[in-house]
Symmetry: C2
Subunit: 473 residues, 2 copies
């Protein structure tokens, strides 16, 4: 097996041209890949390959990859299992170094499939071809519109951002997740599928040097080469936060994993300890996998654990304080100067959490109170970061609150997390998206919002320990 | 202090008539209470009380409660703090036995407020009046449209159901939560506020005999009379599941609590152990507080821990298996007959979790496959309950999947939990609402869906231990 090198993955994410091999009938797999590439605005050339078609979706189709005159960087093969090895061989002869095998029916279905998969691996290694898959929906790159998903996607847009999401399951793909509605700020995505060749270690090394990726969220069931993976993880974690959602944690989960990916998962407690030692941050639900990395998208890391909590309601302040302590944060002791500033808003505002409820109810301009109080605590030298609860999920408040936060954003030099709540779900969701567009991590669950800042603090600590070249800021 | 009795709380939830004392100017507190009562369709009589108005919102207003000729069951007082004692006294003279004091500015703001609150309590006890509050938004009863909320609510409908939600914070109220959009099936709601008189113990005793309440979710920061509360909890938990979200778990959370409710919260670990011993189920986030009780709304309790998992994607099966084990469930071993039924759908379907993905992709009618597989596992004598993952959050699938589940619903004799996912958030949310209307607990987070069945199993075990009169089924 060739050793990993960054250049090996570049054609998977940054191809100038892609060949798609598979069914070109309407809504066939290859047809759908091409349709998705067109809809998401892939900037490279697309070569449909199928001997029964001469044209599809306005593109010329080719009988075989050898019939394409131009060079091809990447092939997506999604044809019946038995046909895959010879098609990959044709790709190799054409000089294609990167092939995604979407097809299901390899190691995950039993012994015959496992033999076919091994045949594929041997062939690829012989020819110096790297493989993603089989049994995968492949990759996404929001910089060039690349998407190899062979399923119908109900939207046309994935938000370009700097978080890479990788997974061992196609469940994480654009066909299954509300990527647009949740506005996850995505740089790259990768579904490893059966990971017969390219695996997490390769991807981590690629992402280390990817300027468009600032944080990584990784779902994995099994690790095939633990030593190699841990080394890659340690390299990346020194520079970028890596969150790991390890599933198949239990014996029953591991058995379920073996039956759908053809890999054997290991004991989670062993992995979890190893992940932490390598500088990664374990997360424990899909929600955390998706939501927690937002905190890294465009904010500085906290310089300490002292949290200010600004809330329009006391009950939220209490839950936030509990969650903060459980996430490794501490409720900041406000300085006398800050308390004076708060008291000038209302005599009762003298402590953290800053419970603005009674003050806002009485105020002519409650949004002004919120802005003034938030500014006061963020200016406090005893405060490292802030959690702000916004009752913005209601039409009559949303735009005024967003305007305020937008002004506040200009002056933010400390990380914040925002909890959005309210009576109208669709408004809350839209506010979360708009705050995300301002570069602010916003959440519909209070505890997740707080945990995100805890994770940012955790990574600040890891980075201080691992990064050989610490920089200020 | 009078001992609790069910009859004391009846006028709070089942009043035939309500007097509202406070500002009747447009969008004033009392005005808004009345507007909410009208909008939510309160079935009793409403008496606005304010000496400066003769009419409001089409209702005759009265200078004082004594001027109302008819009997009044409940008063909501929301006037400046200093005026409250004399108004409560007027209520007492009018024969009103139940008063909600919405007003803020009592024990939660310091010593002067605490003295005023004590004055109020003494007066109420002298006159045999029971109080909810002060510093509260009061109550909701979906059976008679009662809502005493003094804040603007952006919707007109709370789904009538059989779960009672109680809290020590107004945060949980209709003005702050998407009760309609989330379609929580609600019987009663109560915000205890400073709970100077009526507290959780009173409510639990009332709910024990409330035929419209099948399960209770309780948020609390502090317990004022632990022995009395635990006794009430034990009485109720023997008959109905009680979930408790105890906040102010940490020293910092407890300090935050003291400053907004005027109560001192205690050590959470002590309470948590005591709750469990009394038969309650501790929950740990707002999301769990709201979502987990859904599992009790209209399903039988599981007779054992053996869970079948039906999923359109392998990765979800693995996470479900992990979460099941962590929630006290076990992945069921399917019987040979069930495996035969599954294999007739596709030869690869031979184990639990039942990963239908590859089969559904190839099927002419994927919804039929889902229905047949789900029926097969639910018919299995080795299966006590099922988790079903539905890729229904996409317009093109939603109605077909809902039709299928609706058919399946007719035959369900075992509890299920449903995880809904998909690419369109609004569609997923609508599917969750529609499944809820079919009496099925549905969730947007896989782990919460599984945890809900775990909580149902936990309660089945508690009930077997506590209920002096076990019934079959």
């Amino acid at each position: 097996m060739t050793s990993p090198s960054k250049s090996d993955l570049r054609p998977f994410f940054e191809p100038r041209s892609v060949a798609i091999l598979g069914s070109l009938k309407k809504e066939g797999e290859a047809y759908t890949v091409i349709e998705n590439l067109l809809r998401f605005g892939f900037t490279g050339r697309i070569y449909p390959v199928n001997p029964s078609y001469s044209e599809v979706l306005g593109l010329r189709a080719y009988p075989a990859v050898k019939d394409v005159n131009d060079p091809i960087d990447l092939a997506m093969v999604i044809t019946p299992p038995a046909t895959v090895p010879s098609l990959v061989e044709q790709c190799a002869h054409k000089g294609i170094k990167a092939v995604i095998v979407g097809t299901e029916g390899f190691a995950e279905v039993g012994e015959a499939g496992a033999r076919l998969q091994q045949q594929l691996v041997d062939l690829a290694h012989r020819h110096g071809v790297r493989l993603v898959g089989p049994n995968t929906i492949g990759v996404v790159n929001t910089s060039n519109g690349l998407i190899t998903n062979p399923y119908f996607v109900s939207y046309n847009r994935i938000i370009k951002g700097n978080i890479a999401y990788a997974s061992q399951s196609g469940f994480v793909g654009a066909q299954g997740q509300p990527l647009e509605d949740r506005a996850y700020p995505i740089s790259k995505m990768c579904d490893f599928g059966n990971k017969c060749d390219i695996d997490e270690a390769d991807l981590l090394d690629y992402l280390l040097e990817d300027p468009e990726t600032k944080a990584v969220s990784l779902h994995m069931e099994a690790i095939k080469n633990g030593r190699r993976f841990m080394a890659a993880l340690r390299r990346l974690a020194a520079h970028k936060p890596v969150l790991i959602f390890k599933t198949a944690r239990t014996a029953q989960g591991a058995r379920a994993s073996a039956s759908h990916t053809g890999s054997l998962a290991g004991s989670a407690s062993v992995y979890d300890a190893a992940f932490k030692q390598a500088g990664a941050i374990p997360v424990h639900t899909w929600q955390e996998y998706w939501e927690l990395p937002r905190v890294f998208a465009s904010q500085p890391l906290p310089r300490g654990n002292r949290l200010a909590i600004v809330t329009p309601t006391g009950g939220v302040g209490v839950v936030a304080a509990d969650a903060a302590v459980e996430a490794g944060l501490a409720v900041a002791q406000l300085s006398p100067g800050t308390i004076d500033r708060l008291k000038s808003l209302h005599p009762n505002l003298s402590r953290n959490p800053v419970d603005l409820g009674p003050t806002m109810v009485l105020a002519e301009d409650p949004v002004f109170i919120l802005e003034a109080a938030t500014s006061a605590v963020l200016d406090d030298a005893n405060v490292d970061c802030a959690a702000i609860a916004l009752a913005a999920g209601i039409e009559r408040w949303a735009s005024a609150v967003l305007d305020m936060v937008s002004r506040l954003r200009q002056r933010l030099s400390k990380p914040v997390t925002i909890y959005v709540y309210g009576t109208q779900l669709s408004v809350s969701e839209e506010v979360v998206r708009q705050l995300g567009a301002l570069g602010l991590p916003a959440y519909l669950e209070l505890e997740t919002a707080i945990k995100a800042l805890g994770v940012a603090l955790e990574y600040a600590t890891i980075k201080a320990k691992l990064d050989p070249s610490p920089r200020s800021g």
